[in-house]
Symmetry: C2
Subunit: 194 residues, 2 copies
């Protein structure tokens, strides 16, 4: 595989609008660990940009402080693999800002792919989406936090992807684990690797 093989694919982690436990639409808190883990996972699978989506200024500042520390400060020398991972991380207010940024950078609006437990007319299997990603159109993989993305966002997705199913009725993967599995299924070297 060449260096730029997945550079037409970006990912976003959305903290608003998402559901809470009671089904209300809320802004979830940014977990700094998610920012680190998902940056590393994205870098491993060679995706382009990782957008952290939150409209809350205090939360945006938190992510910027973390990035400054690891990109410019003491952390950049202490842990250079963390720096490398964060180089392609950006903070935006809303998902549309990520779409606009990609459209400007790539000259084409990205198709959005969102995992969701419900079935939609645009639901596709992992195999189908893996094949779709072989073209060089820009794609944006969108992940929710909390109890899931507001359903209007999902309905407007170009492609809806099945969630990772637990084998025993237990479906409580941390979002960072779900993202790792989904990127491996869609972009990884696959089962034959040894």
């Amino acid at each position: 595989m060449t260096e730029s093989v997945h550079s037409h694919i970006d990912i976003a982690l959305v903290h608003f609008p998402v559901y809470n436990k009671s089904g209300e639409i809320v802004t979830s808190s940014v977990t700094t660990l998610d920012v680190h883990d998902i940056s590393r996972i994205g870098r491993t699978f060679n995706v382009g940009m990782f957008y952290v989506v939150t409209p809350l200024e205090t939360q945006q500042k938190l992510v910027h402080r973390l990035m400054d520390h690891w990109l410019e400060g003491y952390g950049s020398e202490y842990n250079p693999t963390r720096k490398q991972a964060l180089l392609n991380t950006r903070v935006v207010n809303v998902l549309d800002d990520a779409v606009a940024d990609i459209t400007q950078r790539r000259g084409e609006r990205p198709r959005t792919i969102i995992p969701d437990a419900k079935r939609f007319p645009q639901s596709r299997s992992y195999r189908e989406v893996r094949e779709a990603l072989q073209d060089d159109h820009p794609y944006l993989l969108v992940f929710g936090t909390g109890w899931g993305l507001e359903k209007g966002l999902v309905e407007r997705a170009d492609i809806v992807l099945a969630p990772i199913e637990g084998l025993n009725g237990y479906n409580h993967l941390p979002v960072r684990a779900a993202i790792a599995i989904i990127l491996d299924r869609l972009l990884g070297l696959g089962m034959g690797a040894e």
Copy 2:
């Protein structure tokens, strides 16, 4: 799939003996987040037991305190999915204690499977190991922390598995992300799922 489909597979996260950045053999610190995430990931893929391996008493106490909080204390009501995940988590001194516990519980010594970047005579592909796991012999999947498991441990593994390869020379996945991907490759419902 039935409820007990992977109950003949256990997992272990080893904090000693592992390498540090300088290649010395050390005991790495337990990350409580790893305990939570890997418990959830194991539960999702319906594995049997999750062994946290550390010989340090202070670290063992840390894990037990965490488990008490979520299994018995306030946490058990606040977050029952976390409780469910931790029910099959155990702390042991050394990897051999996990092997002995499994041998006693299952009446047969488990075959050990260890991911490692180097090739060994017993190296196998994901596809081969996924097929091997279809029998009902007990297996123990062993994961290292820090800069990887001491090589004597890997040499004694029954099966060595390829690591998750980055697509761009970047190989710094968090261990919890690597475990999620490996369990999905070996035990997941696979690409056709939709």
